[in-house]
Amino acid sequence: MKVDVYQGEFGEPQAERLLWRAGFGPRPGEAAALAAQGLDGAVGSLLDPGPEQLVGPPPHGNDGHPLHPYAVWGEDHCWWLDRMVRTSRPLVERMTLVWHDWFATSNEGVGSQRLMIGQNELFRGHALGAFDRLLLDVTHDPAMLLWLNGTENVKGAPNENYGREMMELFTLGAERGAYTEEDVRQQARSFSGWQNRWSQLRGDFDFHFDLAQHDDGVKHVFGSSGRFSWEDACRLCVTHPLHAPFFVEKLWSYFVPTPPDSPTLAGLEALYTSGFSVKAVVGAILRHPDLHVGERMVKPPVVYVAGLLRRIGSGVTTTDWAWIGQLSGQQLFYPPNVAGWDDTRWLDTATFLGRWIGVSRLLQDHQRNPNHPPPGVPPDASTLVGQAVAFWRNPPLSSGTLGLLGEFARRALADATADWERKAYPALVENALRQLIAVSPDLQTA
């Protein structure tokens, strides 16, 4: 079963969308360079980007201090945001974000930025690898063990938390008839035995498997029986007939807003089941016509911010991005719950304000000064619109958006009556235009 491949034109607009869906948008010149490779070359370069290079100066906090991602609240968020901005492997970073959402673990329950970043490195290492290996490693990842009470699940006193969520959210899905309540209880027994120690000095440490705490009795799962280990429990889920359809449909939803048709689904399942290869499935999704000609997607808040910084060639120069992420509905390492973020509902009046504040914060370092207008004739409305669009490196804007921007600039300039106003207003108008362009529907979607 072959999956459909997009056959249309692959120019800069298509390359730009691909860079948004598979990464964090283009740096200056990047869309043109990718377009020159053609669709196949472009997807290939995203899937096999070579060793990571971090382009641009390292990040720092408000007073210029280097970030302390393990120790200081919010600097974990900024540390990862910087990686998204500077990486030469955008798809690897984007897949790391996908796994963070898929196996959503919150530091709210873990209480250790060090362990959260350890989990983050695990996701990065498995970004485009084999899902069965990823599942095994996540199952005994320290942050996950703490988050879903894995180290409190012992022989004779099972804790169902991980066993339930790994089937419902990670591998099989709810309401599909894939498992029963009894399966949840039996799986929980298979996962028993993970332990750790705690000390005042080190916090949670020494995560290990303790055979004495493991229930090695016979379990009955999905109709088969055996002395299942925790590895068996994982294997039973990924080889369950309902796993592959769950997996490819969920993975698809991160890249394309409309559901795949059934031939596509079948083709993706065939690619996946041959070896649990994430790369094979992602590659097919990135080449699919639905991605290139279908509906737009609202950019996730952190993708939006990373993309704005990349677009103007800027870096992370403030730790304000952490609380701005919170206001926008996406603080990294703090998903709302184990189901992750709701990717269909990023925008409401509160998170919109968060994005507005984010843009305003970015523009704080890029302002026209109304007190020092350039000499000569003050620019007119259309010149100001052109300059503001150029500030954002000429993103494509709809005629409707351009019409509103032009009308704004004309009216706002016409309000200037006093001589000082005629000199100062062009700078104010251009600053406002930069803000309006960034929050426009055109730039918040791709």
Binding site: E295, R296, V298, Q326, D348, A350, F408, A412, A432
Partner: protein, 447 residues
Amino acid sequence: MRRRCCEEFTRRAEAGAGVRAIEPGMPLPAGTGMTRRGFVTRSLGLALTVYGAGPLGLFDQGIACAGAGRGGPILVSIFMPGGADGMSMLYPAGDPLYAKLRPNLALSGGQPFAEDARLAWHPALAPLAQLHSEGKVTALPAIGYDHPDQSHFTSRHYWEVGATDTELRTGWMGRYLDEVGTADNPLQGLSLTGQLEPTLATTRVPVAAIAGPDQYTFGTSGVWGSVGDRMLETLGRFGELHATDPALHTVSQVASQSDRLRKQLLPFADKTKLVSPVAYPQTSDGFPQHLAGLAAMIGADLPLRCVALEASGQYDTHAGETAALSTAFGVTAQSLLAFQRDLEARGVADRVLTLVWSEFGRRAQENGSGGTDHGAAGTAFVIGSRASGGMVGEFPGLAKGLDVDGNLKPTADFRGVYVSLLEQWLGFDAARIVPDAGRFARPKLVR
């Protein structure tokens, strides 16, 4: 720490907010083209004077918005996230099996529950026990639905949409707002969690999400005066773009809704106007402040109809339940008591009814980690001066009241509660909101 950063930043950002609230008697800012408008908040007894931008009439628009929502009943939904242990809210001290099922978690020392001698209030819920004794709390000690789903997400979804239907995308309050709401009033459905609560999801009319009524201002670096007003006017006009693409449409609609909401909240842009007549718990958690802000908005007669927020705390207590619940219940219950007293002091308590709920209760038998796993029926409360008081349904007992999985069986259905709230409180035909509404018993929840 986080909040302080945020305020510093908003203060640093220059104007663009269009209209600022300032003290009465202050001179008009020269050369801004603004005119002064007076606005008296009835129950605060304070005259708030603000400056409205003349040509735009922003302030008037905000206040004039949708008078239809004004003065009517307000329904508040408070969600306890994670599946709160109902058997610890009203704990069955008098049930002989309680100590056996909960050897480590069994509670003691709580006030007795008047309607059922077997039950007692969690000590940290004493503020609710107080309100119950005043007849202002209706307790539902075993609320749920048949064939319970023990997934947080599925069960919460059922409660949010008001039906055991995984496909429904609108909230039950959202569908009510779609029937009675207007296109110009986002405040008719207000989420106070900083994100839209799915209970309020609509298809036709706008609803609002904010982190607090005093934090909804749009500033921009290097923009001020009439240019700032024009900028925000343009933000509102993104709604005119009429994109056919769903994502573009979403952004343009949210942009114009945000601008409308901003105008509606102008009276609160100055946080010194958010003075509460009663003391709320002092904690880093946002819940008490959300309720304090809500009481102030109701006192100022903003056009609210349905409000959703989350209680203090996380209730998915697979481990460490005793300590987690005593903190979470404590802040939640003290805040709810302060909210009720606040509404009473403002003279608006008879306009507000609050439903406190969770997606499910927890397993009757404790687990090995000092916690409990996911269960079925839980406990809910309806709170307000016009609540019926007493008890709805009953505690089914641990001997006969558990299902095959060891979870509490429901004696009240959440959809019946919604039907009663719609009919008895909001005066609306529940059959238009809740699927198969006729199927559910209608408990008396309002006096």
